[in-house]
Amino acid sequence: MSLVNADNPAAKAVPAPTANPRREALLADFIGTRAATYLAHYRRIERADPPAAVQAFQLPRRTMSWHWAAFLVTIPWLFYRKMYLGGIVLVILPVLFDHIAPGSLFFGSGFMIAICTGLYAKSWYLGHAVNKIDKATETFPTLEQHTAYLRRAGGVSIPGAVFGALTQGITVFLALRDLLQQ
């Protein structure tokens, strides 16, 4: 059985040489849509710091690169890529801060979150993917099970994008309305 999802043209488009083809194949399987973009970033990390490329928690620290979608539509992008915990934290924290210190959503936190996500989006996503791959290999014994798990865990979620867009849109609208009323 091939490690790379045969139905995934993005995964095939990636050039061959890599230090760890098995991990990269699993990454391509996990990422699905636009895998080449993220794998190119993964290769950059791998070249710059090989040990960091296999440790999920070290990945985000390594390289910055710009991701327009993550900057412009931060929350929908996170939910679209199934990084639910990240999306939730970035929704909840500004809402809580805005209740404790009204107006903070606009005077700082919202914009800072968007810039940080834009800068680290690719690394965060790769960290998330490596984490899931590690979990699959720790939990399940066979390659078929790894692949089944990663295909469910990875890819993109349209309901997630819709949910994120609604949440971000309405949060901004409500906060803006409160701010104007004050």
């Binding site: 699905g32 809580l96 209740h99 089944a148 997630g160 609604l166």
Partner: protein, 261 residues
Amino acid sequence: MSDPLLLRVAAAIAAIAPGGLLLAYFSYSSAWRGIRELIWIAFGLGFTAAIPIAGVASLYSQSFFSIADLRLFAIGVAFLEASLPEELGKFLVLYYFILRHEDMRRPLDAVALSIVVSLGFASIENIYYVFGSEDWGGTAMIRAVTAIPMHSTMGIIMGYFGAQYLIAPRRRALLLMLLCPTALHGFYDYPVFAVQRLYETSQGLADGEALEFQIVFFAAILVTGLVTALTIRSLAKTPDYVTMLPVGGYAAPHASAGKNS
């Protein structure tokens, strides 16, 4: 609430504490790392889902205030402004994110996770009620013993049908997953909103009305308790609920969220 910063922090803690403590219990008592992570995701999604739901409900909530008839007003607010959007929000989170999650291992997990989704939803609702109240301490205490258990109970019932859907994906289970909690939640809210309006309009309660709303309120609690007890009994008796699902979750007939496209 125009209190100093420290009081606002205290109010936020008081609002989140009931749901947060139960969340901590669920998280602490789960052995597997995957399900522990999913518990936090479920809580967070329930919490987050309240934001779009509140936004959508606020678009039409004002229209109920023009209804002169007390009972019609209370039914409209209880079912269309409160229970339907709230339970729909929890249902969508459960159906689109939790039941399809790769770490969902057993149908029984759906029940626990549904409770956690409800707790997340109840927590943010609590924040808005507590911050919107003059007596925030009293509001937080009353809601800790009324709203939080009510949302958790609805979570059990919704999760039960969610677990049934994992065992045999049929539309009937999905329909009951939404309708059953919506109906029970609406009946619970109906007398509350009716009495609230009477006090807001300074009309007070007539003897007959007091009895009527008390009967409906306690009947709603009784029926909800009975349904919950039956679902727990069924969960305990049926071994299918603890059978492991295939790796990567159940094979949903209309699932597209997990596809690598």
